[in-house]
Subunit: 341 residues, 2 copies
């Protein structure tokens, strides 16, 4: 099975992306990788690492798409970019099961829509990462975390269905609990969009809708699927991310300004801190799949390092093996809601 | 100076609210308190605590407004409720400088609008708490965190002005940096509402608009005022709050499941953890003032304990001494933007 990876984009490209690909082929026997990017540069990195195998193919793509460009324009014009080449390979080659990019979110999403294409009946594909929770073995899906900033209630309704199908495929949880992110748990809470969505979700047979929930409960593990428009979901997720950074930072400051006893205490807690970091680290959960396309496309974090890319490769494999594409197709086809846009 | 406190509402009322009031009069010589609530119950709590002074007055108000009621209806009908009595005292008595309630946010806001009244020229009063940041002595104002879930861009524009005036009055920071919460820092990021607001803010002379910001930077201390509609602000704030809870919880789990060495390490870090908790604890920063009313009204957290109420009393005093009401009135009057609703 082949997975295509865009080596450009993100804070540590191309080096860390290429390293991640090498880790993946070294640790996962069943996977071959196609890298799209500047051929010479990629070859140099592979040489530096000392990779001599034949399971990494390079497709030359000298252009780069940056975050400052209009995503749609860039996708149309920069046909020699690493991102467009990767998307085209994903679309055209049957043996390529999925793709990973750490590049501009806007461009990855635009490319996913225009090049890879929506699944039939899907109104709006959505970015849906798993978030860590307070429980060690429980993850919660957030859909949408940034693909669709302006949403009709009908889009959110379908996100609930898509999220439920995906969670069931990936985790085996039956009738996943769906919560709608609002500013309070009561039925009447929310803005106009949430009020309308609440009514739709309450009457959607396909899902197990629990009701409105507060962002405070996002990592509580009490929900399987959290529904939001891409703007709200993005704010909720990034607020959590920033809070973790702040918390860690303040903890370090306090340890540094404390006495020797506390410093020794911190040393004794090294393993605990490592384990904590591991459990709440978003990047170890993988990237955000763009659900509702005809193929598996993962947007990995802009700060992805080799380990993140490797985790994303595992994630593509997991999603592929879950048979999610087929399940989603059937789920959308048999869904009780309108398939009109 | 008198401050009126609604003893009902919140998870620990009336006991903790009354205790907080007693702490306040004991520690702050210049303040007298009026408590609204069931007279007999409040007297019993005061007796239990052993308070014998004459600086706490009780105004009998037997009715309670719950979170399940329609706020507007409740405010109109329950004229004998502790909340409505407190609001009426705030409005009518000149020597009452401010009010605190831990009750239903919806009812406090509705009551603030209908009973206390908007300041002239204010389109929509907004809830604006200070958030802790990664810097010890820096706080950031979030406006609005829940009062107005559906906002026109013009409301957000005025939030930016109100927030700037308030931050300058409270912290002395000149030309406070204003950020607009969006799903990315680039100018083109955001949903339709944010696009329009961005254009307005860019052209508002009264403020120091820095641009779009990501919720990830909310606690980074890089901004003085964060502007959002009440829905988005609420989601951002509660997500941070929940993440802190989750982080703390996971840290405890990891310490508990670690060996003796780690447990001793945690013991040595007791003071560090306490200091950490203190720095990131929202309730120690006080409650959320409802900015843009004719008087000072603080909504304290639903989980307020005595210490929170005491902190809120200090906060009312601080706001009063900053001369915020006058400054806000003048600021709104001289503001370059339209004062039409």
């Amino acid at each position: 099975m082949k997975i295509v990876i865009d080596v450009l984009g993100g804070d540590y490209s191309p080096d860390e992306i290429v390293k991640g690909a090498v880790t993946a082929v070294n640790l996962i026997p069943e996977v071959n990788i196609i890298l799209t990017g500047d051929k010479e540069k990629v070859e140099n990195i592979l040489n530096e690492i000392g990779y001599k195998g034949d399971r990494i193919e390079i497709v030359h793509a000298p252009e780069e798409i940056s975050c400052d460009e209009s995503p749609t324009m860039a996708i149309r014009r920069k046909t020699e970019s690493s991102l467009v080449k990767a998307l085209t390979i994903l679309k055209e080659q049957d043996d390529v099961i999925g793709m990973i990019s750490a590049g501009s979110t806007g461009a990855v999403l635009a490319g996913g829509l225009f090049i890879v294409g929506r699944m039939e009946g899907v109104k709006r594909p959505a970015l849906a990462p798993f978030l860590p929770t307070v429980y060690k073995d429980k993850r919660t899906l957030l859909i949408d975390c940034g693909a669709n900033v302006d949403c009709k209630p009908e889009y959110l309704q379908q996100f609930a269905i898509m999220g439920s199908i995906y969670v069931e495929a990936m985790t085996g949880v039956k009738n996943p609990k769906v919560g709608l992110i609002s500013n309070g748990v009561e039925d009447h809470k929310g803005n106009e969009q949430i009020h309308q969505t609440f009514e739709l979700l309450k009457n959607t047979k396909d899902i197990n809708f629990v009701g409105n929930m507060e962002a405070r409960e996002m990592l509580s593990g009490e929900f399987d699927v959290l529904v939001a428009d891409g703007f709200t979901g993005n704010v909720a997720m990034k607020s959590a991310e920033g809070t973790i950074n702040t918390f860690t930072n303040v903890l370090k400051q306090e340890i540094n300004s404390a006495g020797l006893g506390a410093k020794l205490g911190a040393l004794a807690l090294k393993k605990v801190f490592k384990s904590l970091k591991h459990r709440i680290n978003y990047t170890e959960v993988g990237g955000s799949p763009f659900l509702g396309l005809n193929k598996i496309l993962i947007k990995s974090h802009g700060s992805s390092k080799a380990k993140t890319i490797y985790t994303c490769v595992l994630q593509v494999l997991d999603i592929y093996k879950s048979n999610y594409i087929d399940k989603m197709r059937k789920g959308i086809e048999s869904s009780s809601i309108s398939r009109e846009d």
